[in-house]
Assembly symmetry: C2
Homo-oligomer: 702 residues x 2
């Protein structure tokens, strides 16, 4: 059901003389004021009369030509209201309401032969989005962006959950601090990475989550990042103004543009309720509907994989110990394998058997193809061909075996950042997938980008990621892109983009460990733009159990791992541990088997960034619900009700929780499972261990 | 018939203690001495006891790791002699003799765990070639070249024919001067270009042609440029030492290498006879034989084209006057054409008719496809799709029409330097060619390269050019690449690479004019590495005759244009002028109709770089010969004999020559045609006008 009310009002000349324009949200809680002061555009934002953003300037600096920063007059304004709804192909909600008030200002530069741009503002009940538009006109054609001059003038020294601003990686541990402390904490925050490039002692990334001193939850990000450079934020820590900072190309330019064109939407989510931030659909609503005519081939996936055993060091991606190889020259049949190659036919069949037994969908296999001996850190151009398996990985036999069990194998395309090489092989690689029964691929961009000088988050690479996704759609292939740009809601337009990584995931638990509160932050930061392939489900938290030389441990209780399947939304969910471990905890694993990956409804029951999150979701097409909770290193008592259940119905709740004495460090595997009958009137007070949580399946009784 | 004598001699330990190694050419005229002095490798060269190169050092500087420049001991030497012959798929000779003495030195760096490299020297009768080799070994794997440290230590202030060293263009006018004058003449020499990047006030390009004070002709270039950066030369004009200077990538590195690998051959041609330089096959001999199993689809081409009319400005590549377009969005059927689009169906048919009437092979058509409105200077990424014609160019109809007349259309792929875009479309573009009867493509790389920061002659782009050529071979397509790297003999290995531009061609006559002696230099410089698509055959030298606003004129007589078909060797030869002009001079055009494009024998009858060149060639598979001559702005009397003709046979010589009063500036179209019977005993004294020359066809009488 679509209900659209569009009010188009053309302001008369008197109004244009008033250079300030006010836009309010449908519920009137948010108010945005746009203003030209001495030819410079400013905007400001309040929520329930509290200042969210003080006046901040807008504009685009142009290279070798007049900029779009000043000399403006307001030549036109238009307003509209939109109230529609739409159904995503997959998601947290069956139906999403798109309800906003819009203001579009046309700004003309008389001194540039009446060259004009537009800024479009959309004010939702839970936030603001705005973008720059460069319409086709005689006086505007090609231009190069030197820097975007958007300001976010914060009300004060907000508490922030931030990552160091970087052109190449988001794999830093989130720092929780006041903005005034960013400068002092930056050095320690910039831990080493295969590919990284910071740009400022006070630079931070988006999504940026904040909490103001007067209790407002504020999140800054962008939506619909297409044919543009990714935005980071440079903090002026005297005045607490965040300046947009785009990612440069190899020669220092920040965007090659051809009118008509537009910037992505800059988004500011605001609420006095933390759960509103988690539940916001603003970013999806700002993205274009999909043009894919057929989306029936796009389906959420629950999977296991030959992966964690390599991450921990139990086995290897590579087949031999050769120091280097040359594809098409090195004859692997003549080389003695080291015997620790994880992706071999027999072993993959074990995973297929496990997946089939437990009603999962797929098995990811990394390390199946020639080239892993020297894939990393060599800036190697022709590093993989994406079609040639190692001698012990039988493509056709595994396709046959998996298909006979109703299981898919997930393809793996590690590009090593060698992107020209990947594009050269892309059609062949996708066709190979189609020919051999694969319909989903995990791609990776580990290491510095080739062409050298480009960054992971520049316009050049953003163009590539989308190219890989749209080409995949031609082959009806779903994509899970790691080390790619963090998402900005593009899955609405390109629903075969199931997930990204673009943050520290579970793998970092094996590289030294994530903070115990990591998963109480990520949904407020990384997940705001789109799903993350977080790959939870680790039941054996001591990595040394798999690889005695690796002393890392996963900073979690087992019960919290189950909760993550609900709190970390993704249409692509991995049960990341090894089958041999799951077989020791099949009662707990039952939750993973049962939990849905696609939802009709989602609600945040409790939430405080950095402390705890409890989410409830209704499994798509059913009357069943699932609840998950995660907390920080302090542990807590979670108090929830079940008002979201159908009234007058009974449900069997199976509660997977931390034992009384569980602790993520000392006693992670102590969990309890109990079944209780609940109704919409029930309440629950549930103990959560330090670094713990819980999971509940709620199956409606007939 | 192949005759191979290989003598492998292993030197004993006593010899190794003698650190100097001497290599002589088969005829003993050339002598190369290799020596280690304090761990640094040096080489020097003499010809008939005259110094060609004084001792110059060798080595490779490595980034962030120990270099290959010193600390060497000579750990092994090997010598060999090779005397074979081979037949090229097309060329100036039916059979090419490959005869050299070889010395390979193994140099070990004890301080680097006995890491070793090899330098292989091949000494032919007409010059030296050497290259660095990096064999597979435990202590050598991936390395980045910071700079190649090869020196060419000249004997003195040689006269040189030089172009400013540049990472992006060779389209400069050759400067003739002593090396000591390079610095002073550089500024004026660096004329403006769509894409250029000089690197030194005394940097020059290769092929570099020189003449020493003691009368030696010396040429420095490289052979087999594969997976490496192009070499320029930086002149130390105090000591007259040329230092190798490689082309950097976007971040300043000069080569990403993985052992086993090698550098290209550095080549020094030497003779006291200028014609030997022109006749040398050294560079081809240093290239690998072709691996193509079937080469029957590769055939030399004589063609006309819808091209000169656009170069002169008589018509346009574009279809409309739109300031910018978006492929797939701009609807050309709704836009009013400007009416000056050259590549329209009717007009192309006129060229096809002309080609068929005069027994040519093909018609090149530029401007046939959507996108020409804003193709240039915009750094546009998605600039062409290579498959969508303008509304007035009927692909299928023209294919049918051309085929019915036995004519091919030559495809045109202007990339505008947007190379990722070209590679994305390459398979589709080549398949489109196959589907529509095209078997040859002229490609272009006008403007700065995308990915931005890369240069036309860097390793990245050299990789691309070869990728386009080898992929073309999969589709049985021949390639004529303009603005690409200058050739280095790769046509032996990849014989579908018919020609390149990589120098100022005839088009520059319309951009202000070339020097009158330009074509007396190019065969000594540009053509040393491979054929040039020079596109001669201009009969109407006043460009204003086509476009009254363009006052340029072609610095040539008409007769000299005919001579160029012989003096400017290429398997791809254009009759560049307009059919309507040729129709006024059909008697002269007869030479172009008759001249061959493939040869069994070639001889330089007279030659002095910068002054004159006269060449005789025997048409492949016939008993007929063709002679061509070109001279500088002074004019001259050419004196040749016909000893190359079969003894005792008679030939009808048709001599196309300058009239007595012809002059490239004032009276270019004054020519004479006379027929004479000649034998091998005949002689000819032929007047050549300033900027003039002549052409002779010699048809053996039955």
């Amino acid at each position: 059901m679509r209900k659209i009310i569009v009010l188009g009002l053309a302001f008369n000349m008197l109004t244009l003389l008033v250079q300030a324009q006010v836009l309010v949200s449908p519920d009137k809680n948010l108010s945005m004021k746009f203003e030209l002061k001495e030819g410079v555009p400013y905007y400001q934002l309040t929520y329930k009369k509290k200042v969210v953003l003080k006046p901040g300037s807008l504009g685009i600096e142009v290279k070798d030509a007049p900029s779009f920063v000043d000399g403006f007059t307001l030549s036109d304004t238009k307003t509209a209201t939109v109230d529609t709804s739409w159904n995503p192909v997959w998601g947290e909600q069956k139906t999403i309401r798109n309800h906003y008030n819009e203001l579009t200002v046309t700004l003309t530069q008389k001194a540039q032969k009446d060259r004009f741009i537009r800024i479009r503002f959309r004010l939702f009940n839970d936030g603001l989005g705005f973008r720059y538009e460069f319409p086709m006109q005689d006086n505007l054609n090609y231009f190069i962006i030197k820097e975007e001059k958007t300001q976010f003038a914060l009300s004060g020294d907000n508490k922030a959950f931030w990552l160091p601003g970087d052109y190449d990686t988001q794999e830093y541990s989130t720092v929780t601090s006041n903005l005034s402390e960013v400068r002092g904490k930056m050095k320690a925050a910039v831990t080493s990475n295969a590919s990284q490039h910071t740009f400022s002692p006070t630079g931070v990334q988006t999504p940026l989550m904040m909490k103001s001193k007067d209790g407002l939850y504020i999140n800054i990000h962008e939506a619909a990042l297409v044919d543009y450079s990714s935005m980071s934020l440079d903090l002026d820590d005297k005045n607490f103004v965040l300046q947009a900072h785009l990612t440069p190309d190899a020669i220092g330019d920040k965007g090659n543009m051809q009118a008509p064109c537009q910037s992505p939407w800059r988004t500011i989510l605001v609420s006095d309720r933390a759960g509103d931030i988690l539940e916001s659909k603003l970013i999806l609503n700002l993205n274009e509907p999909t043009k894919y005519k057929d989306t029936s081939w796009i389906k959420p996936i629950k999977y296991v994989g030959v992966w964690w055993e390599m991450i921990t060091g139990k086995s290897q991606w590579s087949y031999t110990d050769l120091p280097a190889v040359q594809l098409g020259v090195t004859d692997y049949s003549k080389v003695k394998p080291h015997g620790k190659h994880g992706a071999n036919t027999k072993h993959v069949k074990e995973y297929i058997d496990f997946a089939a037994l437990h009603h999962l969908d797929a098995v990811l296999v990394e390390g199946w193809n020639e080239g892993w001996e020297d894939w990393f850190g060599k800036s190697k151009d022709y590093v993989f061909d994406f079609v040639t398996p190692y001698p012990d990985f039988d493509v056709k036999e595994l396709h046959r075996y998996a298909a006979s069990k109703g299981i898919k194998i997930i393809m793996h395309h590690e590009t090593s950042g060698s992107v020209r090489n990947y594009e050269r092989h892309l059609d062949t690689a996708y066709q190979f997938m189609v020919d051999n029964g694969y319909n989903a691929v995990k791609s990776g961009y580990v290491g510095n980008i080739l062409p050298r000088g480009e960054y992971h988050y520049g316009q050049w690479m953003n163009n590539h990621y989308l190219y890989a996704i749209t080409k995949a759609a031609e082959y009806k292939i779903m994509v899970n892109a790691h080390e790619a740009v963090r998402p900005t809601g593009l899955s609405r337009t390109y629903p075969n983009l199931l997930a990204n990584e673009a943050a520290r995931g579970t793998e970092y638990e094996s590289f030294g460990g994530n903070n115990a509160d990591h998963t109480t932050i990520l949904p407020f930061t990384r997940l705001i733009g789109g799903p993350m392939d977080y790959t939870p489900g680790i039941f054996e938290t001591r990595v040394s159990a798999y690889n005695p030389t690796n002393k890392s441990f996963v900073h979690t209780t087992l019960a919290r791992q189950l909760g993550l399947y609900v709190t970390m939304y993704s249409p692509l969910q991995m049960a990341a541990d090894l089958p041999e471990t799951y077989n020791k905890f099949l009662d707990a694993f039952k939750f993973i088997e049962d939990v849905a990956v696609d939802w009709d409804e989602s609600k945040a029951l409790e939430a405080e960034p950095g402390d705890y999150i409890t989410i409830a979701r209704k499994a798509k097409g059913t009357n069943n619900w699932f609840v998950g909770s995660t907390c920080d290193e302090n542990g807590r008592m979670s108090n929830i009700d079940f008002k979201f259940l159908d009234k007058g119905k009974k449900y069997i709740a199976t509660i997977y929780a931390d034992a009384k004495d569980a602790h993520y460090e000392t006693n992670p595997q102590a969990y309890t499972i109990r079944k209780v009958e609940v109704t919409s009137k029930s309440k629950l007070a549930q103990h959560c261990a330090p670094g713990g949580g819980y999971a509940i399946s709620l199956i409606q009784k007939k």
